[in-house]
């Protein structure tokens, strides 16, 4: 009964929405909105294995490479800047400014500096994704608890061990918050870099469909993007729960008090 209820909550509204969509497109000849049946049909015929390998996979590889680089660089730089008060004061305004620049405007800049290739697209993703990770890491590193830090010092935990056992875990909730923002920005930049300057990839394909007025095909591409976004979000939540299990437990205890 309980699981049935849960399932009802889970699929109830989506089912209703699809029904409304199906019902309202019955007999309609609206050019922009395809019928659900047509969309499913197109989805299956358009996004074949070959197409996936040719257009989706390269996009995903660039996305993963860019995000991974951004996380590694952002965390490393963040620790460097966050643990050094002098460096932090020096760089803070410059970093704030770079964060304020909407990442997509860097596409034309990086096109000039690097040219139109995979490295450029990865650089675009890195240049947009690095800021949330970097700035959150700085904040997290800075906010290491004073008593905890004293405890570590009295046990002569310093240098790399301090980083490994104190600073990184203590900043990890903030770092993960940065990673979460970084993922959605990464996906956006992946699509845009392909829309703006590319001859392959998911973004390019969707724009091609639109330009050739292949509307159901275009919609099916939007669905693919949506699915990637949802998959990334689930993947993130899953790994976040594993990495930050202690944090959520701690918060729950604190809230209960």
């Amino acid at each position: 009964m309980n699981t049935l209820k849960k399932a009802g909550y889970l699929v109830g509204l989506p089912a209703l929405l699809i029904f409304i969509w199906w019902f309202s497109t019955q007999g309609s000849t609206n050019f922009f909105v395809p019928k659900p049946g047509t969309l499913v049909e197109k989805f299956v015929t358009v996004w074949t294995w070959d197409r996936f390998m040719a257009d989706v996979l390269p996009s995903l590889i660039r996305l993963v490479a860019g995000i991974a680089l951004a996380i590694v660089l952002g965390t490393a730089l963040g620790i460097l800047v966050g643990t050094n008060r002098w460096l932090r004061s020096l760089l803070e305004p410059v970093l704030e400014f770079f964060r304020a620049i909407p990442p997509p405007v860097l596409i034309p800049v990086l096109m000039l500096l690097i040219g139109i290739n995979d490295q450029m697209k990865i650089a675009v993703i890195v240049s947009g994704c690095i800021w949330p990770v970097l700035l959150n890491t700085i904040e997290g590193v800075r906010a290491v608890d004073g008593v905890l830090s004293d405890s570590a010092r009295t046990f002569r935990i310093s240098g790399f061990a301090r980083l490994r056992y104190l600073v990184l875990p203590s900043a990890s909730p903030q770092i993960m918050a940065g990673v979460r923002q970084c993922l959605s920005i990464g996906l956006i930049l992946m699509v845009i870099s392909e829309m703006f300057a590319s001859s392959e990839g998911l973004g390019f394909t969707i724009v091609q469909f639109q330009r050739s007025f292949a509307i159901p095909e275009m919609w099916s591409g939007i669905v693919v993007l949506g699915l990637i976004g949802v998959a990334m979000s689930f993947l993130f939540q899953w790994s976040e729960r594993r990495i930050l299990g202690w944090y959520h437990g701690l918060r729950e205890v604190e809230h209960a008090e």
């Binding site: 608890d145 004073g146 008593v147 905890l148 004293d150 405890s151 010092r153 009295t154 046990f155 002569r156 935990i157 061990a161 056992y165 104190l166 875990p169 203590s170 990890s172 202690w246 944090y247 437990g249 701690l250 205890v253 604190e254």
Partner: protein
Amino acid sequence: MQSNPTEGSVQPLLSVRGVQKIYKVDAGEIEAVRNLTFDLRPGELVCLVGPSGSGKTTLLKIIAGLMAPTSGEVVLAGKKVTEPPKDMAVVFQEYGRSLFPWMTVRGNVELPLKNAGIAKAERNQLVDDALEAVGLAHVPTSYPWQLSGGMQQRVAIARAVAYQPKVLLMDEPFAAVDAQTRADLEDLVRSVWEKLGVTILFVTHDIDESVYLGERVVVLSSSPTVVQEDIVIDLPEKRDQLTTRSLPRFVELRNHVYEQIQIAKQNKGQAAPAASAAPRTTVPHVSAATHGVLADGGGSGDGS
């Protein structure tokens, strides 16, 4: 074993000599600690008690090597303390913030040993023994925040004990736990001290606690802090929450400390002459009955 009638010949393990601390703030200077001198002999359990705001935490940070004194020095086993020394462990008041929340109880106790490069087998033994000693052998895989406050402080004590320090500093460790847990933890400190023979400096603002736990009680004045008095606690070595606290001698000593603190609050930083320790005093026995009770423990009290 802790009482030592021939104390004059024993080198102090920990010496606090003329320590002064002045904080520089925007409004000028604040003298938190004026002039503190006292010694801890090996194996002693000394309580440091003072009115709130008497610079106890500042002093403890200086002794722990976390903060440099403005003048004066702290010497541990013949070496001047300039950074947290190897032979010292600290238990902080804020148990919730001194344990690593991302590590299990076992991980917390083990980390300092791992960091010190102690081999795995020996490490495991030390951790097991320490957890056993504080009565936590059953929760090694829990996280600290899953435990009650008292249990968390036990973990912190286990971590300190496993580190095998010569000196254990405790900064108002039980100020944030409830009264019953506190009594249990006080007995735990006594039993750890008796079993391991570690030297303990126990900072507290609770007069009863200081008399109950200590072999000596060092009374601090209000800030700027000096040593108001250094009192020998000549209670029987075997302490018990019920019988010890109802001894007439306990009441006498506690009243004496209480009076000293009242005096301390009134004359700030006036008591001790510069750069010399306050005389170690023995409180005279008032009632004849106490003499009988103290017959076996009397030797410990013979100070200056």
